[in-house]
Amino acid sequence: MQQQASTMPDHTADPAGERTAERPRGVTGAATLMRDTTGSVLLHGGATKLDWAGRVDQPDHVVDTTAMAGVLTHNPADMTASVRAGTTLNALQEHLASDGQWLALDPASGGHGATVGGLLAAGDSGPSRLRYGGLRDLVIGVTLVLADGTVARSGSHVIKNVAGYDLAKLVHGSLGSLALVAEVIVRLHPRPPVSTTLRAAADADQATAATLEVMASPLEPAAVEWVSASTGGTGPGELYLRLDGTPAAVQVSAGRLTGLLRGLGIEPEHLDGPSSEQAWADHADAVLGGSDETVVRVAGLPSAMAAQYHRAVETTRATGADITMVSSVALGMHTLRVRADDASDHAAALTSVRQHAEEAGASVLLRQRPAELDDLVDALGTPPSSVQLLRRVKAQLDPDGRLAPGRFRPWY
């Protein structure tokens, strides 16, 4: 009786739409649900990224994974944990904090209910990716439920393991189009005793040059970020560098980093404790942007940051649109946000940014756009040379095309 209750899905109104969402409680429930239904399925966790990439066609079923929640195991001494995939990142971090550990991931959507499984499916990460890697580097095991209800596991509870294919990599960035992520095993890191942030006024060219200098130095910042001023705003923009570690080591590194930046004509101020935390909370808000904006993420070379920014600004200058860039400079990952009155101005900005990025071999993921833009632009951009292979992978794992139809159209 108990067991039956736990595998029976709940039905509630879904934030993603009017359709009723199924809320399985665990792997078995999710597998039963997938096996016993037909028709298209939209999978989501915290529903923070439903607008990423192509729009999903009106689905026959919505599966909300947030009832598949809870930390299954946490072994502090091994620095690993396994969780049900619908566990929110915040809930996991809270659980780990009492042992002085964390999943070294700080995506902007973390404060908005993003789940571990959803973050893996989206391939999302934050500034700390520079030091700790993203989820593709931190996930060591995964349990997937395929569209036909098949349950497959890969990896294990150990960090070092080369047995079998790594299915976690395949779902990383798949945006719910290949399988439901049901459980995730992650490696953890010790929470740094202290974090110090250096903040300095810097324009795009200064920020790019300073980042390359810092990365060529033996200093090991945990994050290097640049936030532009908005086009209409004042000031050149701000460079943020975070140092993690013991108080003594961080103090020494902060001093050296300050010296390095001064040598480049950049004068940083030190932010500690609450002021450092506030700066990073503001930074996360800047990554997300407003609901009426077009937001893209570009992943390319660190050295290309300034050029990418100038190109975007140039395009929007003519139209009066406003552009903001938030860049993980050292990672070469830039979030560009466009605000404009006309859909055509959004479209022009997106097209120009994408063209420039693609020419440089960078990738462009459309994260958000006003609905009116759908008829004006292609959501995905130029297909990669691996597009046929992607179609074959999709056909193998989801032969009936049930999961997230439209998400990667026209690629697959």
């Binding site: 990439a53 001494a77 091994d78 690993t80 002085g100 990716r129 890697g133 993203g134 580097d137 997937l144 395929l146 098949t150 349950v151 497959a152 596991r153 294990s156 150990v158 070092k160 393991n161 080369v162 047995a163 079998g164 294919y165 790594d166 299915l167 990599k169 395949l170 990383h172 960035g173 798949s174 189009s177 010790p190 929470r191 390359l212 060529a216 033996p218 090991e220 080591a249 020494v252 590194s253 992943a299 390319g300 070379l301 050295s303 990672l331 070469g332 990952m333 071999g361 960078a362 990738s363 951009g381 990669p384 040379s385 691996s386 046929q388 992607l390 992978v393 193998q396 794992l397 690629w411």
Partner: protein, 501 residues
């Protein structure tokens, strides 16, 4: 026996000749005569990798020098439905590059150009035959390096590292090959050429790059690889701490981890391993200790000094009987030489031995060591232990004498039982050597039939006809009837050119 085998051999010979003729004709326009090997003597060079107990002579060896030539060889194989096996330096320890009978070996050793170095963005693009160590060497003067450091790094190739997702002694802190590759050009089993990854850290859509890395040559052949380079750490500090028991050494490792220190490396050797290493290398390890830990920290000088003082304290607290600090780079190298000589050194104390590569959650070390001792006693054999203590990757060496009736079989059974004990403890049958031919039959201990079937579905997306390195990773009835051989010292290892961990 001979009469029964004779007709089959003749058939095989005819088939082989047919295959060779068909393929050489197909490849003549693209590959020069010196790029195809067909005579038996030279083919034998390719009959095994570093697991010399498995040997199969291929029908043909092709030595392409460009992506186009690799694609041409694969196209010819696909057309003729002939299996092929990609091969780097042949240093693999799982029979992953074992040829398929009547099949083709695609040797990538001639593709060893560095295609691009981007110092500002800390990236390098190389062909698959470039050795792991040559990547770091090319940028050493610029204070950059390629982090994965398998012990065979002076000879093993980046293409092989891609296939095996190679790690090394420093992977607890720095990760594996998959964490250090931005992009790859791939030749798929249908001979199409695709790029995965890109200029940046990620692409839109599923991570095909990560799927291919570690797939042991069953999904694709990488012909150009863009790797991530890291800035060399400013400071490196190394110590060796002796302990009265492996448990005490294990406590020290737990203490280091609990203190929030992520060491660049932590290695443990037991008394038997130390005895063998000292006999071979004279690296200065104490011969009267039950266990020794090698701990290495790196980072900024301030961070390193602080952490090192803490490590020293933790070791003392755990009951260390002797601490030795590497005074300079030369002494550090000697400590590592001793550690890395472990496998080859076993010949000093035992005529034959099997090398195991299991992984356990580190906290179960004490439990596993006593279970292993019980199992060894039961089998009447000795087991020496060297392992990457930070990440729980064990390399038990099962010592036996093949000349004694029944010992090889007992040794082999013990070795397999140890790998499967690791799975029971929530770990893995292989931490770094790969599944290959050697461990395919243990895969069902770790994965369900359904798990393996789903992995096969992924494989079918890349290789529907199963021509790319068939018989590896996944168990087959034919394979699982065969037996692995003992560990044999690779000629390069004997010559002191490589070490294996």
């Amino acid at each position: 026996m001979t009469t029964a085998a004779a007709p089959a051999d003749t058939d095989t010979a005819t088939d082989t000749r047919g295959v060779v003729r068909q393929l050489t004709e197909a490849l003549r326009p693209t590959l020069g005569p010196d790029q195809l090997i067909t005579d038996l003597t030279r083919l034998r060079t390719y009959e095994c990798d570093a697991i010399t107990g498995y040997r199969v002579v291929p029908a043909l060896v092709a030595l392409p020098e460009s992506t186009e030539q690799v694609a041409a060889v694969v196209a010819a194989c696909a057309q003729a439905k002939v299996p092929y096996v990609a091969r780097g330096a042949g240093t693999g320890l799982s029979g992953g590059a074992l040829p398929v009978a009547d099949g083709v070996v695609i040797g990538l050793a001639r593709m060893r150009r560095v295609l691009d170095i981007d110092l500002a963005n800390q990236r390098m693009t190389v062909e698959p035959g470039v050795t792991n160590a040559d990547i770091s060497r090319a940028v050493a003067a610029d204070d950059l390096y390629f982090a994965p450091d398998p012990s065979s790094q002076t000879v093993c190739t980046i293409g092989g590292n891609i296939a095996e997702n190679s790690g090394g002694a420093h992977c607890l802190k720095y990760g594996f090959t998959t964490n250090h590759v931005y992009a790859m050009r791939l030749v798929l089993p249908d001979a199409s050429v695709v790029d995965v990854g890109g200029a940046g850290i990620e692409v839109v859509g599923p991570d095909l790059r990560g799927t291919v890395i570690g797939s042991e040559g069953t999904l694709a052949i990488a012909t150009a690889i863009t790797v991530r380079l890291l800035r060399k750490p400013e400071a490196v500090r190394t110590l060796v701490a002796d302990f009265p028991s492996a448990e005490a050494a294990g406590q020290a490792v737990s203490g280091i981890i609990a203190a929030g220190i992520i060491p660049a490396a932590v290695e443990m050797l037991d008394a038997l391993a130390i005895e063998a290493c000292e006999a071979a290398v004279h690296a200065g390890y104490s011969q009267d200790t039950a266990a020794a830990l090698v701990v290495e920290l790196d980072g900024t000088a301030a961070e390193c000094d602080e952490g090192f003082a803490q490590v020293e304290q933790i070791c003392s607290h755990a009951g260390t009987t002797h601490l030795r600090f590497a005074a300079d780079a030369g002494e550090r190298m000697r400590i590592w030489q001793g550690r890395k000589a472990a496998f080859a050194a076993m010949g000093r104390i035992s005529p034959d031995y099997f090398v195991q590569d299991g992984v356990i959650p580190r906290t179960r070390l004490g439990e596993v060591l006593s279970r292993m001792q019980e199992m060894a006693d039961e089998a009447g054999l000795r087991v020496a232990n060297v392992f990457h203590a930070g990440d729980g990757n064990l390399h038990p060496l099962v010592l036996y004498n093949a000349a004694v009736q029944g010992e090889s079989e007992r040794g082999e059974n013990l070795s397999t039982a140890i790998a499967e004990l690791c799975v029971e403890m929530g770990g893995s049958i292989t931490g770094e050597h790969g599944v290959g031919t050697d461990k395919a039959c243990s895969m069902p201990k770790m994965f369900s039939e359904v798990d393996l079937a789903v992995m096969q579905r992924v494989r079918s997306a890349f290789d529907p006809d199963g021509i790319s390195n068939p018989g590896k990773v996944f168990p087959t009835p034919r394979l699982c009837g065969e037996r692995p051989g003992p560990y044999r010292v690779h000629p390069l290892e004997a010559a002191g050119l490589i070490e294996r961990v």
